[in-house]
């Protein structure tokens, strides 16, 4: 568990350093995720070493948002007279985002896989549709 945690932190560190050096508008951890993905492609065997730890972290991903979320709730009373507009905009746009993304993806998957079942176990048919 310790080597795996250390690896995750080191990839985050490299990610943070990289986005700051190149001043890319991406969070360091997201860059770290991309780098770790590349590392796993190059050395698939190391998946077993980090998998238990990353599974544990991801199973409790919800918990990690709680401290930031509490800070947010304390901000909310400052919304004041725009609360209605903000609330409606939040609800509508979240539903629109969910529906449009899911419909687009499902539609393109159906078009792309016309004939072959979507979950065929054959890997490596690169190039998609």
């Amino acid at each position: 568990m310790i080597p795996a945690l250390a690896a995750l932190l080191v990839f985050q560190l490299i990610g943070e350093a990289l986005v700051r050096t190149l001043s890319v508008p991406v969070p360091g951890p997201v860059a770290g995720m991309a780098l770790l993905l590349v590392a796993l492609v190059l050395r698939p065997a190391s998946l077993q070493a980090i998998k238990p730890t990353s599974n544990t972290l991801l199973q409790h991903l919800s918990l990690l948002f709680v401290p930031a979320g509490v800070g947010v709730m304390l901000h909310l009373e400052r919304l004041g007279d725009e609360a209605l507009a903000i609330g409606v905009a939040l609800v509508v746009s979240t539903l629109v985002g969910l529906a449009s993304a899911a419909l687009t993806m499902a539609w393109l998957m159906k078009r792309g896989s016309s004939g072959s079942p979507p979950a065929s176990p054959l890997p490596a048919d690169e190039g998609g549709p």
Binding site: P25, V26, V66, A68, H75, I86, L90, G97, L98, M105
Partner: protein, 252 residues
Amino acid sequence: MTPGLPLAGEAFGGLADVWVYLSASPLLGLSITLLVYHGAFLLYQRSGLHPLANPVALSVITLGVLLWVTNTPYATYFEGAQFVHFLLGPATVALAAPLFEQMARLKRLWLPMLGALVVGTLSATASAIGVAWALGASKETIASLAPKSVTAPVAMGISEQIGGLPTLTAALVVCTGILGAASARYVFDALRITDPSARGFALGTAAHGIGTARAFLVNPESGAFAGLAMGLCALFSAVALPLVAGFLLRWI
């Protein structure tokens, strides 16, 4: 270290001392975060993973009320809670593992994912701007709303670029995540979207990390796609949203 608890007589004064000590120590904030979350999670499991019993929402509300009742400043609470908050970074990096396991499907589905990413991100942004504008929100508020489906650090940067308030954006990002995680099942069921990869990817696109967390609790495959969508959405939004939202804001 801890002031001793006198047995009789001035027990009340002793308890007050203990409270003064504990309320200033990071231990309390951390313990209470874990306990409240655990309670919320048990409730969530009891409800059969009911989306409306979202553990993030339940914990945030409970802790918010606790802080408010005990008159504890957020900064004091965060001194303890930051240890949990810190793990968000390595957890984001850890998303690479499930992604790697889905690699074969990712390669095959790159076009559907790209389409869902572009359509989902832009329609969420445009509808947020449109609805807020129609209901008479100020331009600053509209700009703060525009990037709310993107993961918090990126959303705050975009908000600043297009003339919004980054802290307001952070609040709206969390609300969007909770809303998305709570409503996704109903939206997908109503639209008859059954494929776990499409459900996960849409949830990650529209509701970033909190949506991803929900997806992981329901189905690991959905979780992998949600995590990927969150990362891609951050990348795409950082480039496209300042242009698109900036254009819409100038036009209204």
